[in-house]
């Protein structure tokens, strides 16, 4: 037991905070992520993450809590994406080649200037790849509130989002404002990405958003089940990641814990890979469509 679970894990304040943040992030990412995969918006999620990096490093430069930087940049990017139509092919090209490049370039500048100013080289790493152990306990209520807001948005829009994913034209014909719904959803996505960025870093945040959701969609038949499975999978990856990172303090090189985000993304990958695609559950009546109605 000693080797699996180093003593003092749950007595540590930062670990308890980390475990709590893990719950908020995994549940939010699970719920939002399922819709992200259904709507084919993984690319949008990743773009938001890249732009959030700029916001996080900007916040670091001016000495603000990085979550606000992630959030502000993410929401602004969501609005921008809606404007350039990132769902269209041409919009994607513009976003990838121009906007995301510029965003990460600005992040490089902010991180360079920030680390020069404060001589804290660890900050770049924290923003890019996350460090769930250094999040201050004061931030937790804000994270919880943001997560709840994102989840509520998606719950209220759930049916409309599903109908729109099935066919935007059918939704439009029935009076749904598809564009408005899409914009509201992108904002919820931006919040979710920001939360994930706090936990495992801006660059990796999509892993927690898309990975568990993609795994869940292979095994669940209804959206509600998929969300529950995605949240549980993400939570398992995050918590086990936290425990392993805590333990790794005693691994080589001795006295330096490995990053939590490394463990989380590896566990997300491990959750996705082994499951073979389920054989479509089609019972013996394979040709039933031919029977007289």
């Amino acid at each position: 037991m000693h080797y699996l679970f180093e003593p003092g894990l749950l007595a540590s304040g930062p670990v308890r905070t980390a475990l709590l943040i893990g719950v908020v992030v995994a549940v939010t990412s699970g719920v939002i992520g399922v819709f992200t995969v259904i709507r084919g918006q993984s690319f949008a999620g990743h773009s938001l993450a890249d732009v959030a990096t700029t916001g996080g490093s900007g916040a670091f430069l001016v000495g603000l809590n990085q979550f606000w930087g992630f959030l502000a940049a993410g929401v602004a990017a969501a609005a921008l994406m809606e404007a350039i139509g990132v769902q269209r092919r041409r919009g994607r090209d513009v976003a990838t080649g121009v906007v995301l490049g510029a965003a990460l370039g600005a992040a490089a500048l902010f991180l360079y200037l920030g680390t020069q100013q404060t001589s804290t080289t660890g900050a770049s790493f924290t923003i890019l790849f996350g460090s769930i152990f250094v999040v201050s306990a004061d931030t937790v209520p804000v994270l919880i509130a943001s997560g709840v807001l994102a989840i509520l948005t998606v719950v209220v829009l759930a049916r409309v989002l599903l109908l729109t994913s099935l066919s935007p034209d059918v939704a439009r014909a029935r009076g749904v404002n598809v564009r408005l719904v899409g914009a509201a959803y992108l904002i919820a996505l931006a919040i979710s990405v920001s939360l994930s960025a706090v936990a495992i870093g801006a660059v990796l945040s999509t892993a927690l958003l898309i990975g568990p959701a993609a795994t869940a969609l292979r095994v669940s038949r209804s959206p509600v089940k998929a969300m529950a499975v995605a949240a549980a999978t993400g939570l398992a990856a995050t918590w086990i990641g936290i425990v392993l990172a805590y333990d790794s303090y005693y691994w080589p090189p001795h006295g330096h814990g490995w990053p939590v985000s490394f463990f989380v993304v590896v566990l997300v990958l491990a959750g996705y890979l082994p499951r073979p695609r389920p054989v479509a559950r089609r019972s013996p009546h394979e040709g039933a469509e031919c029977s007289p109605a």
Partner: protein, 275 residues
């Protein structure tokens, strides 16, 4: 297959106007014109569909069939003319129209069972969650049974064949009890047997539920025995009437603006370009 009495709260279409539509017809298009970037795509399209009438919207690819359906649905603003559904211009008519869009690509990973798709037809345009109830389930089961899709009600739609998906989408469109059903190329990409079954099903639904059906297709042959009316689109113009009235060499040549021959072989109709 008798129509079941609908619980009031689940039957939005029932509150819609019912008394006044027997006069002018369920769907009236009056002088519809559509212009895309300076090009006139449709000119002066006028026709009327009555309750329970089955109409085929026939024409070659690119003739403007989808455009016309989009105008009726209110997805596209015509440059001229008006559309009346049950005597009303668009605002309140949305729930009177059921719509089956042109081939959907549904990923097998999409976590929607056939019954979920039908359930979205009931209230997928509303905010919030729908809570399962016995009433709701019975309604969905009935809609699935009406289209003969009950045996795969719990399968993911993405895993169903093209013909099965069409049935589910028809149930989705019909569960809100529309008065008018629009289908955009529902027979495209179907094997012959599914094609015949879907046509027979739609003919039966139109009769039993007294729904006006407007179905677009580039080939009229599968529809010949069910169509009450043909709406033939070509060259931006429309000719309408019974198949025998409309589909003649003289009539279609006038419509196309060049000579075409209409050939009838074994009860099938071929339209071929002539000299």
């Amino acid at each position: 297959m008798a129509q079941k009495a609908m619980p009031h709260d689940l039957a939005p279409a029932q509150e819609a106007p019912t008394a006044r539509d027997d006069g002018p017809g369920l769907l009236t298009l009056d002088g519809i014109g559509v212009r895309f970037g300076g090009r006139q795509v449709l000119n002066d399209v006028s026709f009327t569909l009555s309750k329970g009438e089955f109409a085929g919207l026939i024409g070659p690819n690119g003739a403007g069939k989808t455009t016309l359906l989009r105008v009726i649905l209110g997805l596209l603003q015509p440059s001229g003319g008006k559309v009346l559904v049950a005597g009303e211009q668009h605002l309140r008519s949305k729930q009177l129209i059921g719509y089956v869009p042109q081939k959907l690509v549904i990923d097998p990973d999409m976590p929607l069972r056939a019954r979920d798709v039908v359930s979205l037809g009931l209230d997928g345009n509303k905010l919030g969650f729908s809570f399962p109830s016995r009433q709701r389930r019975a309604l969905i089961d009935q809609a699935l049974a009406d289209v003969g899709a009950d045996s795969y009600a719990d399968h993911r739609v993405g895993e169903l064949s093209g013909g099965e998906q069409q049935r589910v989408l028809i149930a989705h469109a019909l569960i809100s009890r529309p008065r008018l059903l629009l289908l955009d190329e529902p027979l495209a990409n179907l094997d012959l047997k599914s094609e015949q079954e879907i046509v027979a099903l739609l003919g039966k639904l139109a009769r039993e539920h007294e729904i006006a059906v407007l179905l677009s297709a580039h080939d009229m042959n599968p529809l010949l025995h069910v169509m009450d009316r043909i709406v033939y689109v070509a060259n931006g113009h429309v000719a309408t009437g019974s198949t025998d009235e409309v589909v003649t060499s003289a009539g279609l040549s006038r419509l196309y603006g060049h000579h075409v021959d209409v050939v009838r072989v074994h009860g099938r109709v071929l339209v071929v370009a002539g000299e």
